[in-house]
Amino acid sequence: MAVLKVEGLEKSFGKTQVLRGIGFALEKGEVLSIIGSSGSGKTTLLRCLNFLETADRGRIEVNGETLFDAGQNAGSAADIRRKRLHFGLVFQSFNLFPQYTALENVTLAMDLHTKEAAKQEKRRASKAELQANRARAKELLARVGLENKMDHYPCQLSGGQQQRVAIARALALEPDILCFDEPTSALDPELTGEVLRVIRELKNASTTMIVVTHEMEFARNVSDRVIFMADGVIEEQGTPEEVFGAPKSAKTRAFLQAGQEM
């Protein structure tokens, strides 16, 4: 069964229609790359999935549960918060919390959720629970290759390291689907490799991922499926071989051509 099902998603900002009926499905463990030129609606799509924007029309379904239906009431703030946790999002500009160390960035939300759960059972979170969070955060930071940087503040880390902390932070809450919004676009070329390597390793661990990217090589080699977006619609989708090897749409061909000439 599909982990994620998106149907007829539409979104306008003022008079500009950014998404014009987006629909796709994603299987568990699949990696989906979304490519397309700037302004094609890729980022808006990710933001709708993460409830940072509210789509005007359409449905979003995760594991058979309808998370979003434009025809229905979105539910309370608490509902939206709970629904958000199905998705993780790694931002283009990292957005780490500057006043916390790498480790604290990863544990912050975990601890808040632990405390909230404890409060609902009318007790306080135990030391052991918080200790477990720390252990898990350390494990995640080690997984992204930062076991030596746990106590560093974001300002002491390179862009690539910051982005890897951000990935660990997103993984900490065990989202069903991890989304990346151009994860390497703010990085110097020599730093993109370390981030892409981490994403590749996540794929090997069967993490379900949606990656909005301009890294064509990466999209081609790592993803199971590729979506090419243009002007707010899915112009073409398929396996990387299909989209990159034998693009059907003229727009796709033009886009890929332009990329090669750069």
């Binding site: 940072l52 999002l89 931002f91 500057p98 974001p154």
Partner: protein, 215 residues
Amino acid sequence: MSFWEVNRQLLDGFGDTCLLFFATLVFSLPLGLVVCFGSMSRFAPLRWLTRTFVWIIRGTPLMLQVIIVFYVPGLAFGIPLDARMPAVIVAFVINYAAYFSEIYRGGIQSIPKGQKEAGQVLGMTDSQIFFKVTLLQVVKRVLAPMSNEIITLVKDTSLARVIAVVELTKSAQDIVAQWGLLWPLFYTGVFYLAFCGILTLLFGAAEKKLAYFGG
């Protein structure tokens, strides 16, 4: 009047200066946050009401506000005019809350939107995001303008003398009037300087303490 007697009398006045200073801070720092939230409210009437309030408070002299708070209740409702210090404190608290609210607003609005969004996608509530993510960053950013404003407050306390609160400057003026000595008036500058000097050091230390993180 000896040097020590002058000092004693000035210290009496300085006590009232300190009372006014600390009372203003204690009430206006949190009240400023309330005003700030009002001025950023999504509910337009509240936003305009708050901004009009800030405009009026910042657009008229503090001295006039002190006079109004002290005299108007008496003139309008026949309340006897004897609560001088409370009237000054009320006027100062309102005035400084208006200024602080604008500093807070600038600080809060300067935090990148991505910080809030990062908290949101991690399933944090708005209040968790404010207290755990935004607040310390805002504190760091507003420290310099706040130190400016708070140092101004030290010297603004001398306005309380318009309704005969005997703070530092007024107590020196009393000495001038009663004893014909002029130097105690100039000498009050030493008290103000020392007070502001200590505040400058405190703010410097706070800035240093928050220097560990960027942004």
